[in-house]
Amino acid sequence: MSEMRSGGLHHKAEELAAGLPPLLIAAERVAATVSQGVHGRRRVGQGETFWQFRRYQTGDSAADIDWRQSAKSQPVYVRENEWEAAQSVWLWRDVSPSMAYRSSNNLPTKSDRADILLLALASLLVRGGERMSLLGSGRPPATGRAVLTRMAQTIESTSLQEERPADSLPPFELLPRHGRLVLFGDFLSPLMETKAALDPYVGRGLTGHLVQILDPAEETLPFDGRVQFQGPEREGDVLIGKVEAVRADYIAALSRHRDGLAAMARGAGWTFTTHHTDHAPESILLSLFLALTQGRSW
């Protein structure tokens, strides 16, 4: 308390602030909005929050008896707490060159949005006490603010690199069974390749959540006239004489691609959502978090 004088608090706060990367601060801000809507699991379990009282049955440990409640009435009650299971969550985002695209300077690039979403989600998970790790970092899942800071630094250092790695699909790592996996990316690779990358994880029984991040221009193709499109990942060039003519076909192709991805996810028991960079990140985060924390019951 003595430290919390005027100068001391300010100083401490500055020190604290200096340690936080700006990305993390932005992510925390997003998470703070979302965390209003986080609830417990509504199940009985090994947590610390009170859930319910139930009658004593043979086999229960005597330490679990809540004597106060039992004294109020005749039967013996046992206190049950909510189930707050700490699960491991693995997070991954696409850092390939195709994610560095944005159609106008007012929108963030897709990779920026992916970073924000990832960190915000991580922040929420930390609040919930979950254990998480970045896929590909090699560290075991852990919980706590240190994890968050480390994750933020890793993400920032990767995004500052000039050369972006060309793989747009998650690498395979041997993860413990029944963990959770969250993948942020644009998933524009051919469906076969995506399926090949995700099947091993499906085989190990992990539950995955795919979040496709797209720019609104990629969604609607708002260009006119004669345009030569160049692929950012060296796929080649395409010269289209009149873009208006192909717009409808393109939108149809994109939705077909998306349907394919959704079907793949459904078949594996995973979830698939799409997010556009011109929408606020909070909108998807809540649903994602709920999807994460409420999965199958154990």
């Binding site: 195709s98 051919p190 260009f223 006119d224 004669r226 499109f229 692929g231 004489g241 003519a245 994109l254």
Partner: protein, 903 residues
């Protein structure tokens, strides 16, 4: 070649290309534009899609028009447009250019050059051969070059260095090779174009007719109203120059202006000369005062820049100065009795008279030196005078009492010592008068006054020893045969002795009009010195060029013999200009030898006559091609911008960097001026900023308090004190500089030290205050004053002015007291007795410091407020001392003051 008014096209077939412009337009419209490029991640989805549809060309309209303009400019450029192209040359054969480059051609030489340029351009375009002939006189030694044909380019090189010559033309001789050349007669008849200078030489009609055998002839000449005017050398008369000017034609009235210029180009006088209708010659009289006349260097006609309109002046028109040797002393106190009064009065009207010592007089150009019985001359002076006489000077001596006693040898004849008195109390003879002049004497023809009242009578004279040549040397005799004026020629000069005085002590010659006439004759005699027929040939010194400008002589200019100079005509061997060295400078003028001018004959049948055109032909092709390049650049930038490849941010950033050099000096200058104004409009005390805010605040408060006290108690009015930095601020505005020495002050930079030294030298006073009572901080003051010029110091003595400049004080207390105050030792520097440096340790600013409510800020020990009062008194003493100097240092009251002080 097609011509449309002033515009013409040299390659008109290229204009056909203009018909292609609509086709270009169509092409540009139909061509699809360059595609926009962009990166797009979901490109794989696009790859499977295909379309045959193409976008129509959507280049913006202004870009199309720009490109069209570019194409049009290119086509026009290829067509080689020309402005004001010359088309004078007719017929198929060669072009023969005859150029008059005599003196009269300088009248409008640029127009001639333009004309030649145009003609050569046309000849070059039409691939004609060109022959160039010039008609000025050629020196006898060189021969005229043969007529040769050359290309227009070579002709241009030949013509480019042509300049008008400052002598007359000789057309007959010049055109001889042309008319007799075999090749010309056999070749195709060409076009002869004669660029004449508008003046007739004689026989031009015949020449022109003969030229017709070579082909068509065109003569280009100025109308005679704009031909060259001639200015003849003036004849000098009594104080007036009579000018004469000549013009070729005689129609109409015309006024020209003549300017008289001095050596450095200053205008001395201007005179208008009027040509009456029907007259070719105009005359005017130019009156110049003597001084201006001697400075005259040249006369020119305004507006004409030819060699014939410039007349150079030489010594013949100069008024020769006469020098009177000033004996000094009593002469000035009693002028009428002095020896030079009458001489001066007599010589002044017609010549320049100078008075001075011998070295003054002989140091300048002098025609006549007059010695009116001076005190004894030293041998080296005598030597100098005799050298000067031999070089051509005229020495006129008058006798007098001194010469009678001792002759110094500088006389034309040997003198008998003593003088002869005539008609005095002790003599038998009557004062004699002059005998009539003989015809060998230079005074022959002068009228000797007769009659009772104005008869010349000589009362005393010096006698000459009889000698064989005395009669030859005598110029004026008295009626009894004794010489009055004797003269001997020595070298180039004359030594003339008048055997009586120049004032009225020995005769009344000085009062007569004959005296004046005789002196004039003597001065005129000196003018003949430079006009001697003997002597070395005169070298060219400065030569006029064709435009009447003086310059160094060309290498093949010959000397002129001195005897024949007056008859010499300005020719290629000796062009007009200055000849001879300093002592015998003569001017050779062109206009002296020219006949009266006449206009060029313009009515020969079959000859085409034209005037000079004004405008220079201008080639528009480079401009058009430049325009094409500029438009191409704009097109490039525009296309890049349209395709989205131009990064505006980078362009704007680069422009911003270039424009970032904002002038900062203006602001500095303004604040410096304001500071200077503020400092100088009121008397202010200044303190040196030490950087320590506490110390600075104290200094400021202290000096404010002191200024307030001074304003209250004395007549001095001080403004608010100012903090100065010796590095940057001007110190000279302030009478007193208070310098608090605080711990750790660094040494002064060289620039600051120089400023402070200048301040001390300029009379400023610095009060160093170490503020530490016991003087333990001497290290700091040594550091600060390292580069400064501190004079030797001593403790302030008991009778120092500081102790009594306003109040009588025994001690100089500040916040402390008891320590010594050091002042400058007097006598080292002259600063009106004010010590430049005062050093003490009493922290005066602290004692003087008052806040806004006039409450003291710091305590004063040990005397309290009484000591503070004395500190203020010291401050007032100091300010008075600095402002008034040694006013209080008078010794008259000192004993009384000392007595009071010791009480």
């Amino acid at each position: 070649m097609i011509a449309l008014g002033p515009l013409s096209f040299a390659a008109p077939w290229a204009l056909v290309g203009l018909a292609l412009l609509p086709a270009i337009w169509l092409l540009l419209r139909l061509m699809p534009p360059a595609p926009m490029r962009m990166g797009f991640p979901p490109i794989r989805l696009l790859m499977d899609l295909s379309t045959d549809q193409e976008s129509t060309a959507t280049s913006p309209l202004w870009l199309l028009l720009l490109r069209l303009l570019m194409a049009a400019a290119l086509i026009l450029g290829i067509a080689h447009p020309l402005l004001n192209a010359s088309s004078m040359i007719r017929s198929q054969g060669p072009l023969i250019l005859i150029i008059d480059d005599g003196w009269a051609a300088a009248r409008d030489w640029p127009a001639r050059q333009t004309m030649i340029g145009n003609l050569l351009d046309q000849a070059g375009r039409e691939n004609r051969q060109v022959a160039v002939v010039t008609t000025a006189k050629i020196s006898l030694k060189s021969a005229r070059p043969a007529v040769e044909f050359m290309t227009a380019k070579n002709a241009r090189d030949r013509v480019a260095p042509l300049q008008p010559k400052p002598w007359a033309t000789d057309r007959k001789e010049a055109l001889q090779p042309l008319l007799t050349s075999e090749d010309l007669l056999k070749s195709q008849p060409g076009h002869v174009i004669w660029l004449s200078d508008g003046l007739e030489e004689g026989g031009s009609a015949k020449l022109v007719t003969e030229l017709r055998t070579l082909g068509a002839v065109t003569v280009i000449s100025d109308p005679s109203s704009s031909a060259a005017r001639l200015l003849r050398p003036p004849s000098p008369e009594e104080g007036v120059l009579v000018l004469e000017a000549v013009r070729p034609d005689q129609k109409g009235e015309e006024t020209i202006r003549v300017r008289a210029l001095a050596t450095n180009g200053n205008l001395l006088a201007r005179e208008d000369m009027v040509f009456k209708d029907g007259q070719k010659i105009a005359a005017a009289r130019l009156e110049l005062p003597v001084e201006l006349r001697n400075r005259l260097e040249r006369l020119i006609i305004e507006g004409q820049e030819t060699a014939g309109s410039v007349v150079l002046a030489d010594e013949r028109w100069r008024v020769r100065p006469a020098g009177l040797l000033d004996p000094g002393g009593t002469d000035s106190s009693q002028p009428l009795l002095g020896s030079l009064y009458y001489l001066e009065r007599a010589l002044k009207p017609f010549t320049e008279v100078r008075r001075g010592t011998l070295s003054d007089l002989l140091g300048r150009q002098l025609a006549v030196l007059v010695l009116a019985d001076p005190p004894l001359l030293k041998p080296e002076e005598l030597d100098r005078i005799s050298k000067w006489i031999k070089a051509g000077g005229v020495l006129l001596r008058f006798a007098g009492p001194r010469l009678a006693v001792k002759s110094d040898g500088l006389t034309p004849v040997d003198l008998r010592l003593g003088n002869r008195a005539l008609g005095g109390a002790m003599s038998w003879d009557q004062p004699v008068t002059l005998a009539p002049f003989e015809d060998t004497s230079p005074f022959f023809g002068l009228k000797i006054p007769t009659g009772k009242t104005n008869e010349i009578s000589i009362r005393r004279q010096l006698l000459a020893k009889p000698a064989l040549d005395l009669a030859d040397k005598t110029w004026v005799k008295l009626s009894d045969g004794t010489p009055l004026v004797t003269a001997a020629k020595q070298g180039d000069g004359w030594l003339i002795l008048v055997h009586t005085t120049a004032n009225t002590t020995w005769s009344n010659l000085a009062l007569s009009g004959l005296f004046v006439e005789m002196l004039r004759k003597v001065v005129a005699l000196s003018q003949g010195v430079t006009a001697g027929s003997g002597g070395p040939p005169l070298e060219p010194r400065e030569i006029l060029d064709g435009f009447g400008r003086l310059g160094p002589p060309p290498p093949d200019t010959l000397d002129i013999a001195a005897g024949t100079f007056s008859e010499t005509i300005a020719e290629p061997e000796h062009p007009p200009g200055y000849y001879g060295d300093e002592s015998s400078r003569r001017a050779l003028n062109l206009s002296a030898s020219l006949p009266v001018t006449a206009p060029f004959v313009t009515n020969v049948a079959g000859i085409d006559y034209q005037g000079y055109s004004e405008a220079r032909e201008r080639d528009l092709r480079p401009w058009l091609l430049g325009l094409v390049l500029g438009l191409a650049l704009i097109d490039l930038i525009a296309s890049l911008a349209l395709r989205g490849l131009l990064n505006w941010k980078r362009v704007a950033g680069a422009a911003a960097v270039i424009l970032m050099f904002a002038p900062g000096d203006e602001v500095n200058a303004q604040t410096r001026d304001e500071m200077a104004l503020a400092a100088s409009l009121e008397t202010r005390l200044a303190y040196v900023l030490t950087g320590n805010p506490q110390v600075d605040r104290t200094s400021r408060a202290g000096l404010s308090g002191l200024s307030a006290m001074v304003n209250q108690r004395t007549a001095a009015v001080l403004g608010t004190p100012v903090g100065v930095d010796p590095e940057y601020d001007t110190l000279s505005f302030f009478p007193l500089l208070y310098w608090p020495v605080s711990l750790g002050q660094p040494a002064l930079s060289p620039r600051a030290a120089a400023q402070v030294n200048a301040y001390l030298l300029g009379g400023g006073t610095i009060l160093f205050d170490t503020r530490d009572q016991s003087g333990s901080g001497t290290g700091d003051i040594v550091t600060i004053t390292r580069g400064l010029d501190i004079p030797p110091l001593r403790p302030a003595p008991a009778d120092h002015v500081l102790r009594r400049s306003f109040y009588l004080m025994k001690e100089f207390p500040g916040r402390w007291t008891g320590d010594t105050v050091w002042v400058e030792i007097p006598g080292e520097r002259v600063n009106d007795g004010v010590s430049s440096v005062i050093i003490g340790s009493h922290d005066w600013a602290g004692a003087w410091a008052l806040n806004d409510a006039h409450q003291p800020l710091f305590p004063v020990v040990p005397g309290g407020e009484k000591q503070r009062e004395w500190a203020f008194r010291f401050g007032i003493n100091l300010v008075m001392y600095v402002l008034t100097g040694n006013y209080k240092a008078d010794q008259v009251h000192l004993p009384a003051i000392m007595e009071r002080l010791s009480r």
